[in-house]
């Protein structure tokens, strides 16, 4: 296996990416899209381990940091849904250039990374398979949950909420950023996230989709994921016994246990 870190150029800025491939022939190319903010940091090692497991099964993998996160250029407050789509476009192009046999790719996204992967796939015709790990399906609800993180931080620091939700929205409208665990969220990114609905994007996607839902064996499929399967398209949901490795947990989770094996099996067979 080889792993090569490099910077890609996107709109005059640098995007950090790691290409991982087996020594022999690449079966198919896979793009990994990470979640937002601190979820990315908690999940990072599990995604690295997963990329190595994919390579061991003959896939070529590119994992990268969206601009505004990780080691890529740009402050978080300058990133948006549009910059993330540009990033994915550049990453897919880079993967195809390195692996000319990969005329189409598979994408695996986690949480908001899954949402972004879906949005990209819906607009393009070079994505064959989409794997969505616990995807954010309702952008508006997710955007509100980000504001709740700010409110919780205020409670922790000041023992009360100093600025409520309405005040935070007012600040963003005035052009100020709102602090979400150290990430400066602007009105542009907030409204971009709020407008996203995965069900609409999936209607435009012609490839095959696997949604992976963490839970316990035998858990029912969550209603929002069931709804996605009713919109037409080749979409299945798999409920797996897996812990949320993108959060702070008591357990040390360096692998995407529960997610990795069903995903790789599906990628190989679908």
């Amino acid at each position: 296996m080889t792993e090569e870190a490099s910077f890609l150029e996107v709109s005059g800025q640098r995007l950090f990416a790691v290409f991982c491939r087996p020594l022999g022939q690449v079966q198919r190319g896979v793009v990994l899209c990470h979640p937002l903010g601190e979820e990315k940091l908690w999940a990072h090692r599990a995604l690295v381990t997963f990329s190595r497991e994919l390579v061991a099964r003959g896939f070529g993998v590119i994992r990268f940091d969206f601009r505004g996160e990780g080691d890529s250029d740009c402050d978080f407050q300058d990133s948006s849904v549009e910059t993330r789509l540009e990033d994915i476009t550049a990453v897919v192009a880079a993967l195809k250039e390195r692996e000319p046999s990969c005329s189409d790719v598979s994408m695996v996204g986690l949480r908001f990374g899954a949402t972004m992967a879906t949005l990209y796939a819906a607009r393009r015709n070079d994505v064959r398979q989409l794997v969505l790990w616990d995807p954010i399906v309702d952008g508006a609800a997710y955007a509100q949950s980000l504001l709740r993180i700010n409110l919780a931080s205020q409670l922790a620091a000041y023992k009360k909420v100093v600025e409520g939700r309405d005040k935070l929205m007012e600040r963003m409208t005035r052009g100020e950023a709102v602090n979400i665990e150290g990430y400066a969220l602007t009105e542009s990114f907030f409204s971009g996230i709020s407008s996203l609905r995965v069900i609409e994007a999936l209607r435009s996607f012609r490839g095959k989709t696997l949604i992976v839902q963490p839970g316990n064996e035998g858990s029912p499929v969550r209603p929002e994921f069931s709804e996605l399967t009713k919109g037409g398209g080749n979409i299945i949901v798999s409920v797996v016994a897996g812990q949320p490795f993108w959060k702070e947990t008591k357990a040390f989770l360096p692998r995407a246990d529960g997610f990795a094996v069903p995903t790789i099996d599906w990628l190989e067979s679908a």
Binding site: D71, F76, A157, T249
Partner: protein, 308 residues
């Protein structure tokens, strides 16, 4: 012009460690590298990319800055056998990554001829820097953010090792909550920490601070901390500690180290500074807190590692 490059090097077990090297414009270079040591799980960028913000400031001052992922974490090779996060943290606090840090210094010394380092980092990164400094005098000083003195316990027994200062703060909180309905609901439905409430009201920590043998802590104090800290100071190398007002670590430093080693610290006081950023959380997630930390850090760096 300052540059940032993706780098990799081998540790002493032959595992590849990946990182980023920030290099200053040669005209402003001070010939000293700040090792921004990973806090652990959150890797070489740190929580909310804190380490990029710090690196940008330090490289603009003329310092080289190296941040990298330890083996088994981030992008680096290797694997860790632990199943519990607290065990990972404790292994870091016990010196797991000292050799990786020394490998980083070896690599940069070979690459750029730099053999003077400032060890720096948040939490686990700070303690890794301290323990490495004890063994390697290429580390000329330590810039420690939120450095822990105590080992991680299980979350279930968090109340066992509270310091007097922590109990005092908890007492104030509990007394404020007397007028809150939700607090009474928690109390009456078995969801409160009754032992801790009792301790805070009676101010009796489980382990008293007047232990007879401070060199052999009987509580959760990291037994490696005091010898390392005192060794670095006795060799004449300065230390700055910056703590966050909202976490417990400064109390632990004062009560589990300073108070227990007052005799040994006499004569060494001029070599270390302790600062607190009021209301700041452990990861300094507010821009104002970061600004305060950077002001303290840059002033200290200028004093201890002035431009050539």
């Amino acid at each position: 012009m300052n540059t940032v490059s993706s780098v990799s090097f081998a540790n002493r077990q032959g595992l590849r460690l990946d990182g980023m090297l920030h290099e200053p414009d040669p005209s402003s270079a001070r010939g000293v590298c700040v090792l921004l040591l990973s806090p652990g799980i959150k890797g070489r960028v740190g929580p909310h990319r804190l380490y990029l913000k710090i690196a940008d400031r330090f490289v603009s001052m003329g310092f080289h800055v190296l941040r990298f992922d330890y083996h088994g974490l981030g992008d680096s090779e290797g694997s860790l056998s632990e199943n519990v996060m607290a065990d990972v943290y404790n292994s870091i606090q016990s010196g797991r990554y000292v050799e990786d840090t020394r490998s980083a210094m070896d690599w940069l010394e070979n690459l750029r001829g730099i053999n003077r380092f400032v060890a720096s980092g948040l939490c686990g990164g700070a303690i890794s820097g301290l323990l490495t400094a004890q063994l390697d005098d290429r580390i000329r000083s330590l810039l420690a953010l939120g450095m822990p003195v105590a080992l991680e316990g299980n979350p279930e027994d968090w109340g066992r090792h509270l310091t007097t200062g922590q109990l005092g703060s908890l007492r104030k909180g509990y007394l404020r909550n007397i007028v809150h309905f939700d607090a009474w609901v928690r109390f009456l439905t078995g969801r409160s920490s009754y032992t801790v409430i009792w301790k805070s009201l009676t101010r009796r920590p489980e382990h008293r601070d007047d232990v007879k043998t401070p060199d052999a802590p009987t509580d959760n104090t990291n037994p490696r901390f005091a010898p390392a800290f005192l060794s670095v100071l006795k060799s004449g190398r300065p230390i700055i500690l910056i703590f966050s007002g909202a976490d417990r670590l400064q109390w632990e430093f004062e009560e589990k180290f300073v108070e227990r080693h007052q005799d040994q610290l006499r004569g060494l006081r001029s070599l270390f500074e302790v600062h607190k950023i009021e209301k700041a959380n452990h990861v300094l997630s507010d821009p104002d807190w970061i600004a305060q930390m950077l002001t303290l850090s840059t002033q200290w760096l200028d004093k201890n590692h002035p431009p050539r």
